[in-house]
Every structure is written in structure tokens, then in C-alpha cells.
Amino acid sequence: MTTDTATETTAAPAAAARFTGGRDIPALARDYGIIVAFVALFVILAITTPNFLTSQNLQNVLDQNAYMGIAACGATLVIIAGGFDLSVGAIFALAGAVAAWVAINVDPVVGLLAGAAVGPVLGVLNGLLVSGVGIHSFLATLASSLAFSGLAVAVTGGFLIDVSSDESFVWLGRGELIPGVRNSILMFALVAVALGLLLSRTLYGRYVYAVGGNVEAARLSGVRTGLITAMTFVICGLTASLAGVLEAAKAGSGQALPGGAAGLALGTIAAVVIGGTSIKGGQGAVWRTVLGVLLLALINNAFNILNLQPQWRDILTAAIIVSAVAVNTIAARR
């Protein structure tokens, strides 16, 4: 109950506290640690690694991680609202499979749109389970992810649906709407900016923070807490299916278990947490998640360029996740 004491004691003498803007060192580390870590790693790589600071390499890094970034931006909303979405990997796979199937059987552009629509529809289902039925989001999405994965197998029949010969399908993943910028990178940027604005500038965004911060206080303030929470799953579903369609287009195929799907749900949660968004909800931001994704991407890139053994990368990633959470916990305990 040390937090109580802190509350009580910081009341009167604010002069000293004003020195650090009312915050102590763990709080500063929590709020700005990700920026320092990202910039530091970037500078170190730029100085020590000759091939790092090239347009080609940086574009590749962004392109390879765009799907993770897009999905993680959506997952940020769910986590700030106090939930988890473990079904993003399954939605990612199903969206790609549906896009490929429709592209082959109907029309490639309709396929891309249908794939993108998969996520919001399944997100509604997740939202109903969580807000309507009242199942904890961890369990609701764990269960729904199994069902979605099953659907993906049903759609593909367990085979790879090859769309690589369709120019308009693969354009989304490999082309450049703006010359010089790959579509994947453009999509990542658009999603990040749109969701960043949604969270920080809109009524809906404020309600998301309120629900995650104290759901009862939000309800007693007139917030439709169930709807707000359910919507985070719809948005997270949308970003997961956008990521899935993007990767399917890049690969020119859809399948039940595409590369990247297996670890996507936990990967997005890791990226969100590394960025400094609180796992307990109520605090965080999309830009944090973007930096979290990029930090992990840079580490990956460094291991590739320097040809280091990948198991050390996993151990380093684990250490970063643990320190991010630890800093958050210590800051909250003050």
C-alpha cells in the first residue's frame, strides 16, 4: 500500500516534485525509455554496420515488418482498453486465405476487399463474446482463434492457393502507389497515423483510455463501455486482416498457416508492451507501438547483417520485454 502513502504525501509540497514534472526516474524511463532505446540502437547500427544505413536496407526492414506493425497498431487499442486479442494470427491467416480464394474464384480486387473485410466481421464476434457475453478477452479470443484457424483450413482445403500470376493481386504487396515507397510501407504509415489520430484526437479514443483506466468510473460517467470495448476488437480485426491481405499479396498465395501467423498475436503484444503501453490498460499510444515494432525489427536486422546466431536474438528480445514490463511495474509502484 505504498502507493497510498505516496498519494497522501505528494499532496502538500509540490516544489521538489515539479523538478521532474512530478515524476521520478522509473516513470521517466517508462515514458521515454523506448525513444532512447530506439535512437541508441539506430545510431549504434548506423556507425558500426556499413550496410545498415542504406535506403535499400531500411526499406527492406520496413517492408518485412509492415504486417507486424499494422497488426500491432490495432492490438494497441485492445490493450489500452484493458483487453487482449489472441486471435490476430488466425484472422491474419484467414484474411489471406479468403482473399486468395475469392481472387481465384471471383475477382482479384474483390478478393483483396473481401480479405480485408474478414477481420472486422470476426472482430464483431470477439467483441460480442467479450462485451456481450462477458467472457474475459484472453479466453474469448483464445477460443475464437481456434475457430478462425479451422475456418482458414476449410477455405483452403489445406492447400496453398496460388495467385502469384495475378498482377493486380500481387501489386498490393509488391507495387508502389507512390513511386519509391513500397505499398506495404505506405499501408503501415497510413494505419499508424489513422489509429494514432483516432486514439489521441477523437472522442472514441478518449473513451478507450477511460474504459481501460477504470471501467466502472467510465460507465458511471455515461460511457458506453461495452460498445467501446467491442469496437477495439473490430478495429484490431481490421488491422489483422489488412496485414493478412498484404502478406498474401506479397507472397502471391493464401494458405491456412502462412509465414508470420503463428507468432503474430504474441508478437503484437510484445511490441505494444516494449513501446511502453501498460498491459493493465488505460495508458499508451500508437507511436509507442510503432517504435516497439521498429526496435524489434532493428534487432532482427542487426542479427541478419552481422550474421549472428538467431537464438541470441530471441534471448535479447526476451530481456527487452522483461525490462519494459519491469520499468512499467516499478514506475506504477511509486
Partner: protein, 507 residues
């Protein structure tokens, strides 16, 4: 008693939190076998000192002697080994477990890793013979009242052979009757040789119960007094550093023809509320009194739509309100400042601005986009008007004192025009100086034409503020008291149902 060596001796003890001095240069002694009260405003350091003695807070400087021997506890467990137990304001029990399991938690009798039920049963019988609290060991703790849960905590301390028990605000959520039971219990503990450190806001209680009282102000020890020769006024002077009037602002009766704003008819909810009907007029302050658990807060929550109801209607300015949704109640002009501001009222980690703006965002935003600058300007003006210090919209609510947090809770509902304001325990955990400011605020809001309902466990507060008092008992409105009939005695009689018992005896 005066010749005995002190059980606890503090020398120049201090504590700093992130640049804030919580305690400075504390020298004091606690005599074995006494009840020692610690009083002071919020932030004065009394709770911190209790936690230091109990090992929950590590001091930044100074020396602590227990039985004349120097100790430096780093965790409550280490203090417990020396027989020092702390009972926090927020009880630390496992609600799903039984009374006995909670009492022996962490000290279970085990054989080869398996809990030995017969051995625990024997220990319980021994313990109950000593303490005689009359608790059923097999009851699930969640089913007990707060007062009984407190007994479980005390029993846990006794089971660990505590010589010193620190109690932090033990009566803040107890009804008067329960408070008296607790006091009898505490006296019994003292007579058995257990020393008690009693931290409390309630000065009368402290004087009635304690042998010695130490007064704190701004982290410093003001004086240690013999409780027998001291008055409440003397303590208040010590706490505030100046004399202050504890009277309430003058009541301004609502104009004779003031129209009814809130009309509640026949609200019932199985096992909770029964046929609740009352009206509140413009400019009127109606008090809801009664014991804890009598249904006061439940009335507020039912009107506000926070809890479901089985039957009954509510009208605001003659227009019927469909119950069951806080959102609709707010739209109809009703506002509720709930009793537990930390759990139900505030987003502690978010800035004051976000808290104040939350129920008003629809009118503060345009086309779904928020306008921080406007929110800042409106919030700053309102916070300054309410006397929140500092009126900084960006400051997280968690860093504010209890009184300021309460004002932020009010501010949520004052940014826009409301018709009905329901205040549940408006001064809980608020220090003496801030109480008066909150009373003045409530009176001025009524004068502005709001219909106000005040719920409070502090009798003086209801009587001092309200024009009319409704006394609740077991989910019903037992009686309504107006001007002349409003006395502490009348309220207590109605709350305990003493008249009803007497008339039954008369039959």
C-alpha cells in the same frame, strides 16, 4: 505504566518520497500495553509512521528501537517476526477463503507439505478461547461484513502472537454500532497486554479510546498528549496550526414555491430496496442517513441507473426517466459522485482534464474530434473556482490529496448544467480543512438551483447540510425528519429501529 520501558522508540525518523518530505525528525515512544493514537490531516504523515513501525515502509533516516534494541525492518514479514502486525485501511484478506484459512494464511499447520486440518482446528479452538470473537471458522470471508472482516484481521494478528498492532483508519467504513464494538475489542486487547497504535481521522473516537495521542502536521510531530486531559478542539488546533470553526455554512432554505425536480416513486429491488419514494425540490438539500448497508448508496445507484431495479419510477422535472443506464440518467440531468472515488469515480492515472471532461466530452468535441485547448481552458477555470491546488489540468489525479481528488470528482459534474446532484460520502478520506470547503461548495450549488442529495455516514454532516433527512433502515425509508425534528438522537433511533422495538414491547 510510566515506569515500563517503551515498546517502540523512534529517534529522528524521517521519510522522503521522490523529493517530497513525508516525515521529518520524528522522536516518539510508544509504551507497552497502551493504546496510542496518531492524528493529523491527510498527508500529515500519520499513516506513513504507522507503516514504518510495521515494516511496510522503510524510513529514509533515523533509528527505531524495539524493546530498547535497534531494528531496521525491510518488509512487514520482518516486523511480524518481532510481534508487530499492521491492519491496513483496505483489508488484506483472501475473500474466497474461509475465516480460519485466512487467519492461518502463511502459518498453516502442515505435515509433509499437506495442510493438516485437525491441527488447524485445534489451533482455532485455542485462539477462539483467547480472543472470544465469536466468528465461525468455516464462513467464507466474502460473506462477512466489513466489521467482521476486521475481526478476522485482528485474529490473524493475535494468531501470530502480535505484541503490537497498528490499525490504520479501522473505522472509516464502519457504522457507529460496529465502531463501538471494535473499540470494546481494542480495549480488551490492551487489557491482555497488547499494544495498539491507532491511526484515525475521527478525533472524538481517538480521545475516547486512546491513552496517548500524538498530533502530526506536515510530516512533523506537533505534540504528544495524554488523551484524558485533551479536547477535540485542542487536537484540531494542533493539526491545523490554527483554530478553526467546525460549524457548517448557514442553511438557505429553498424558496417556498420551489418546484419538484427529482421525484422517486416506489423503487424496489429484491433484498436490497423496498418501496423507496421521495422528492427533491430546486435548491433543496436532502440527506440520506442510516447505517452502513441500510441501502443508502443503493438508492443513489438505482436512481442513477448504475444498478438494476425490479420496479419503480423516477421523474426529472416531470419527465419520466427510463432506469438502468447511467448514460440516460446523465442525459436527464442527474449526476452521481460515487462513494468510492478511486474505484468508481476517477481515472487515477489520467490528468485532471481527462477526468473532468469525461462525462462532458460530447459537448466539448466537434464531429467526434476532441478539443484539448477548450477542455484545458474550461477545466482550469473550474478547478480554480473550486479551489483545487494546483489547478493544473495536466496533472495526474493520483498525485492529488484526498480533498482535491474529491473536488475533481465534483468538477466532472459541474462543467455543464445539471439538475440533480447525488453526493455519496462527499468528504470520505478528506481532511478537516478541505471538508469545510466542500460543505460550502455543496450549499452554494443548492443555492444555484440544483436539487442535491447527500449521503453520509457522518451524522453531523447530514444534519449540518440537509434541509430534510431521510433515515434508511434495511432497504426502506424508515422516517423523514424535517427542520425541528432533525437531531442525532432521532436519526439514530430511526436507523436502529429502536422505536419499532419499543412499540413492539409495548404490545
Amino acid at each position: 505504566m510510566t515506569t515500563a520501558p517503551p515498546l517502540v522508540e523512534l529517534r529522528d525518523v524521517s521519510k522522503r518520497y521522490a523529493g517530497v518530505q513525508a516525515l521529518a525528525g520524528i522522536d516518539m515512544s510508544i509504551l507497552a500495553g497502551s493504546i496510542h493514537g496518531l492524528v493529523g490531516e491527510n498527508g500529515a504523515g500519520k499513516s506513513t509512521l504507522g507503516k514504518i513501525i510495521g515494516g511496510a515502509v522503510v524510513p529514509s533516516g533515523g533509528t527505531i528501537l524495539i524493546d530498547g534494541e535497534r531494528v531496521s525492518y525491510r518488509a512487514p514479514r520482518e516486523a511480524l517476526a518481532d510481534g508487530i502486525a499492521v491492519i491496513q485501511q483496505e483489508l488484506a484478506l483472501v475473500p474466497e477463503m474461509t475465516v480460519a484459512d485466512n487467519v492461518f494464511l502463511g502459518t498453516e499447520s502442515a505435515r509433509g507439505g499437506a495442510v493438516s486440518r485437525p491441527a488447524m482446528r485445534r489451533r482455532w479452538t485455542e485462539l477462539e478461547q483467547r480472543a472470544q470473537f465469536g466468528l465461525d471458522p468455516d464462513t467464507i470471508v466474502a460473506d462477512l461484513s466489513v466489521a467482521q472482516q476486521q475481526k478476522v484481521e485482528i485474529l490473524r494478528a493475535i494468531a501470530r502472537d502480535a505484541r503490537l498492532i497498528v490499525m490504520d483508519e479501522p473505522t472509516s467504513s464502519l457504522a457507529r454500532e460496529e465502531t463501538e464494538q471494535l473499540h470494546a475489542l481494542v480495549r480488551g486487547l490492551r487489557d491482555d497486554g497488547i499494544t495498539i497504535v491507532y491511526v484515525s481521522h475521527f478525533l472524538e473516537e481517538v480521545l475516547a479510546l486512546c491513552d496517548t495521542v500524538t498530533v502530526f502536521r506536515n510530516g512533523e510531530l506537533v505534540e504528544t498528549l495524554d488523551a484524558a486531559g485533551t479536547t477535540v478542539d485542542r487536537l484540531v488546533v494542533g493539526m491545523l496550526g490554527h483554530e478553526m470553526s467546525t460549524t457548517f455554512p448557514a442553511k438557505q432554505p429553498p424558496p417556498a414555491g420551489a418546484e419538484t425536480v427529482l421525484s422517486v416513486r416506489g423503487i424496489s429491488r429484491a433484498k436490497v430496496l423496498e418501496d423507496i419514494s421521495f422528492e427533491v425540490r430546486r435548491g433543496e438539500i436532502v440527506g440520506l442517513a442510516g447505517l452502513v448497508g441500510s441501502g443508502r448508496s443503493e438508492v443513489a445507484r438505482a436512481i442513477f441507473g448504475a444498478d438494476p431495479v425490479d420496479s419503480g419510477t423516477v421523474e426529472v422535472d416531470g419527465a419520466p426517466l427510463k432506469l438502468g443506464s447511467p448514460r440516460r440518467a446523465i442525459a436527464a440531468g442527474i449526476a452521481l459522485a460515487p462513494e468510492d472515488r478511486k474505484r468508481q469515480g476517477l481515472l487515477l492515472e489520467l490528468p485532471q482534464r481527462d477526468n473532468v471532461a469525461l462525462p462532458n466530452l460530447a459537448t466539448l468535441s466537434r464531429l467526434g474530434f476532441t478539443d484539448r485547448r477548450r477542455e484545458d481552458a474550461d477545466t482550469r477555470a473550474l478547478l480554480a473556482e473550486l479551489g483545487v491546488t494546483p489547478p493544473d489540468p495536466a496533472r495526474p489525479v493520483r498525485t492529488l490529496s484526498g480533498g482535491n481528488q474529491q473536488k475533481v470528482l465534483f468538477a466532472k459534474w459541474l462543467l455543464r448544467e445539471r439538475k440533480v446532484l447525488i453526493l455519496d460520502e462527499p468528504t470520505r478520506g478528506v481532511d478537516v480543512g478541505a471538508k469545510r470547503a466542500i460543505y460550502e461548495l455543496i450549499v452554494s450549488l443548492a443555492e444555484r438551483g440544483l436539487a442535491v442529495v447527500v449521503i453520509s455516514s457522518e451524522l453531523e454532516e447530514v444534519l449540518g447540510l440537509a434541509h430534510r433527512v431521510l433515515v434508511m433502515r434495511r432497504g426502506r425509508i424508515a422516517t423523514e425528519l424535517t427542520t425541528d425534528a432533525m437531531s442525532p438522537d432521532a436519526v439514530m433511533h430511526a436507523a436502529f429501529g429502536i422505536d419499532a422495538i419499543e412499540s413492539e414491547i409495548a404490545k
